[in-house]
Symmetry: C2
Subunit: 538 residues, 2 copies
């Protein structure tokens, strides 16, 4: 009987084990899990801290007993794989009763990542034991500091705040959640502060010390005290045990696999957070430490072990986070990544209603779409808002899976009724705008570009008098769109300039731009317009 | 100066007019609208009856004055186009001050549909005047009857109920909302009844008479009284004025157009509810009286008039309706349509959580996916639930726009965090199942087929003892999935039969089926399982 050993029993490992059994009733399957729990809801852990998830049992999807009953899987918890000998096809395991060797015919590596520990032995959030520890420590404290403004850090901060703690978030970068552009993450940062979280960015920590309280010292010599410090400063692959195994890792320790989740060593597969997968936009190998891809990779490894020809085609890194009443989501690449990749791209910013404005309860969505200038192909999208962020992101991610061009979004036939959306959905709108750009009906300019233009450009505000009086771009000429045709003479001095037209969100700017072009003016429409301008100023 | 006349000023007509102006500043644009209002929020009208939308002004997106100011469009309300002379290129118009002729260079037909009046002059809901009438009539009544269980009828019924009326819905067919299959619409029918609406289906009305009250008499001789009858018994194209114009209509009066929204007559375009468009699944001409396509068609007509080469590629008929706390959505074809089209199709039913079950507030989604047996291409999908219906439908509609095959849904990289979804989204799950079918790992059977199987088939319930004791398919053998391996001997008598395995939703059925196949049994997994069975019994 073939014996398959799986290192790691959470998302990728557990998915792989269960799928393997469904494909092969008679193989021996052993799962080695370092922690005391398997198949737990990793992504739910922060919400246990906030008591959103009150029942601990709800986070545990399977026990070793239930996995044995249903799948005849031999699950060994508290069992750390110390080393792998791919020549002899055996692994060394430290279990509850000592260290032993286990042979394998096929090995699956799904060890996941560990949370980087910085400044000392402060709690991190990786597994069930961690969350139990944080939950216990949080019981008797008033204040808490979270170091790191990534997904887990922000979810933890929110949940500690929901539990009544005075929470500070310390982030090294200029902004939290670096998957989002600055003008979109601004709404989430505002939401954190609105909910009482002391969010500090561009922070340089020198040191942190636990005495009765925790003292954090900063590079500038200042310091702060807190009752509880939780570190959430990124993850690294938990692959040290692979040293000398012959399995190829990259410099950071990520496991290299092909589309069938095979490593370079025969009969050794890998899946989950510790592997690098193909990025669907860049075509490069990338780490995507998210539950969706991890589960799929585990499943695909099982398929190939069982003789099915399945491939993991790649990831877009699609993600979403709840930040109190808002959500922020993204798929594909963001501005910074696109610049790093050297890809020539266009960007479209819109601020539509989450559903028909006349139906109660609608709220603004803030959306960015990136597309390749030459091909028109969509490269990424992001959105922030109260409602509809997940829907929008999923639509774009689905379109991207088929290599959609931005203007094709106009064709999508999406579900509409007033409580759920608009007759012209955000995706459709983006498609209309992309089509206008492609057809040469419109040239877009970003807020940053418009603000940094040379003297050949003039900013033209086409909003109402009331809107203009409450604030505008610096140095802009103002003529409301509905008065434009009658006041063209006022623009005569700018006949040889380029008018960078803006309104509140971009629609009236487009209309004004079209009028002006008919009268021989050169125009660009400021995408996202004054609303995006304000976001940069949050 | 070119003169463009547009018949109809709501979704398609208004979109066409505004787009035309943005494309051509100097053409003359006249819009003739039969009612007193233009560019109003058609889809919002039922919610005005329920006072969900309290401010009448919110429904009116533009007035003739605002459209003139912004777009220099000559809007003529209360102006009915009586006839079209395409030879002389002129139309006859009955306006507020009498009848006159107007010439055109280009004519756009966007007359929409009218609501069929049955049994007499009872109110219907088509335009703003209609909703004002119903709103007024509803003021002083206790009871109301809505004839017709389509989108508008059901939205009206809900809104009349929200306003405190005792509402009865009379539907001729066996079920309301015929875009949905019987087992999905069952949840919406239950929701209507749960909210106090007296829903009667398969109703045969003989007659309705207005005296002090309205008396409705049925074919079986029985009758009922009500204070207010609103008829919502379908729509027909408002194209009688095209008689003798030479514009080709189908038998029912729908206008035939090509992908550029051109009719058979040069310089005559058409858009909106009164035209037939290409159905993306069948490739046949079909009426899609929905706001999304109407707006797009108007825009595309304008593009082509202005010399841009835009095409309306076709519609999927994607739609959604709110029914109290539930939503029901669909895209593409349903079972009945697929049978009518003679397409060989497979169906997958699932009942996933709207988001991670351990995170508060999740609710069940009920989902069906149809795919072509031979190619695997997705033909349609539908969903009912409290949360996530619009998202799911939009993902499938987007995938269908790219000719997605069902098993490709497994590849979609969608946004996941516990408040928004599951690591394996419903679309992913459908893809996994479709892949299993394609790979021959699983054969699915519908509940109807399983119930009507011959004596070669045996029903096997693999749920727990508790679940089984609360009800099961008739005549089923029962062995819980976790006991299956130990109790195989009990199945020995069925070794030469086909075991139709079922659980609550289909997951344990799949696991059991895989175990049984390993031991040489022939199996099918009942898709949707006991949950779908119960839906048919609602």
């Amino acid at each position: 009987m073939r014996k398959i050993c799986i290192v790691g029993g959470v998302a990728a490992g557990a998915s792989c084990a269960a799928r393997l059994r469904r494909l092969d009733e008679f193989t021996e399957i052993i799962v080695f899990e370092k922690s005391g729990f398997i198949s737990y809801a990793n992504c739910g852990l922060p919400y246990y801290v906030g008591k959103e998830i009150a029942d601990f049992g709800n986070l545990i999807l399977h026990t070793p007993e239930s996995l044995y009953k249903r799948f005849r899987i031999d699950v060994r918890t508290n069992s750390e794989v110390l080393s792998v000998d791919t020549g002899q096809k055996k692994i060394r395991v430290k279990g509850p009763e000592g260290t032993y060797e286990e042979t394998y015919d096929v090995l699956v590596l799904a060890p996941g990542c560990f949370a980087r520990k910085m400044y000392g032995d402060f709690p991190v959030l990786r597994n069930v034991e961690d969350v139990q520890r944080i939950d216990m420590l949080a019981e008797d404290v008033d204040s808490a500091v979270v170091i790191g403004g990534g997904f887990v850090g922000i979810e933890l901060a929110e949940n500690l705040a929901e539990r009544g703690k005075k929470v500070t978030v310390l982030e090294y970068a200029d902004h939290i959640l670096t998957n989002l552009d600055e003008d979109l993450v601004a709404y989430l940062e505002e939401e954190l502060r609105r909910n009482g979280i002391d969010l500090r960015t561009s922070v340089r920590i020198r040191d942190a010390k636990q005495e009765e309280k925790v003292t954090i010292t900063f590079e500038d010599g200042s310091s702060m005290e807190t009752d509880l410090l939780v570190s959430s400063a990124g993850v690294l692959p938990a692959t040290a045990f692979l040293e000398g195994s012959g399995v190829t890792l990259d410099q950071r320790g990520y496991i290299l696999v092909d589309g069938h989740m095979r490593t370079n060593v025969p009969d050794v597969y890998a899946a989950g957070d510790a592997v690098l997968v193909n990025h669907l936009v860049t075509g490069k190998k990338t780490a995507v430490p998210l539950a969706g891809p991890a589960n799929k990779e585990g499943r695909i490894a099982a398929d190939n072990i069982a003789g099915l020809n399945s491939t993991f085609k790649g990831a877009l890194g699609t993600s979403i986070i709840k930040v109190f009443d808002l959500a922020g989501g993204s798929t594909g690449l963001n501005s910074a990544q696109l610049k790093r990749e050297g890809i020539e791209f266009g960007v479209i910013c819109i601020h539509p209603s989450s559903h028909a404005g006349y139906y109660p309860g609608s709220s603004p969505l803030h959306i960015k779409l990136f597309y390749e200038t030459a091909s028109g192909e969509i490269l990424g999208a992001q959105a922030v808002g109260k409602e509809g962020v997940d829907k929008f992101i999923d639509v774009i991610a689905t379109a991207m899976n088929y290599g959609a061009k931005a203007d094709e979004l106009a064709d999508l036939d999406l579900a509409y009724a007033p409580p759920f959306g608009s007759a012209k959905s955000p995706a459709n709108y983006l498609g209309f705008i992309a089509g206008n750009v492609r057809n040469g009906l419109e040239e877009l300019v970003t807020v940053e570009e418009a603000l940094n233009s040379d003297e050949k450009h003039v900013l033209l505000d086409v909003r109402t008098n009331g809107e203009y009086s409450r604030g505008s771009f610096p140095n802009s000429v103002h003529i409301p769109v509905d008065e434009l045709r009658d006041r063209l003479a006022e623009l005569q001095p700018y006949k040889n300039k380029i008018l960078d037209v803006y309104c509140a969100v971009g629609i009236r700017g487009h209309i004004a731009s079209r009028i002006l072009r008919a009268y021989g003016y050169q125009t660009r429409n400021v995408t996202g317009a004054y609303t995006t301008y304000q976001a940069y100023r949050k």
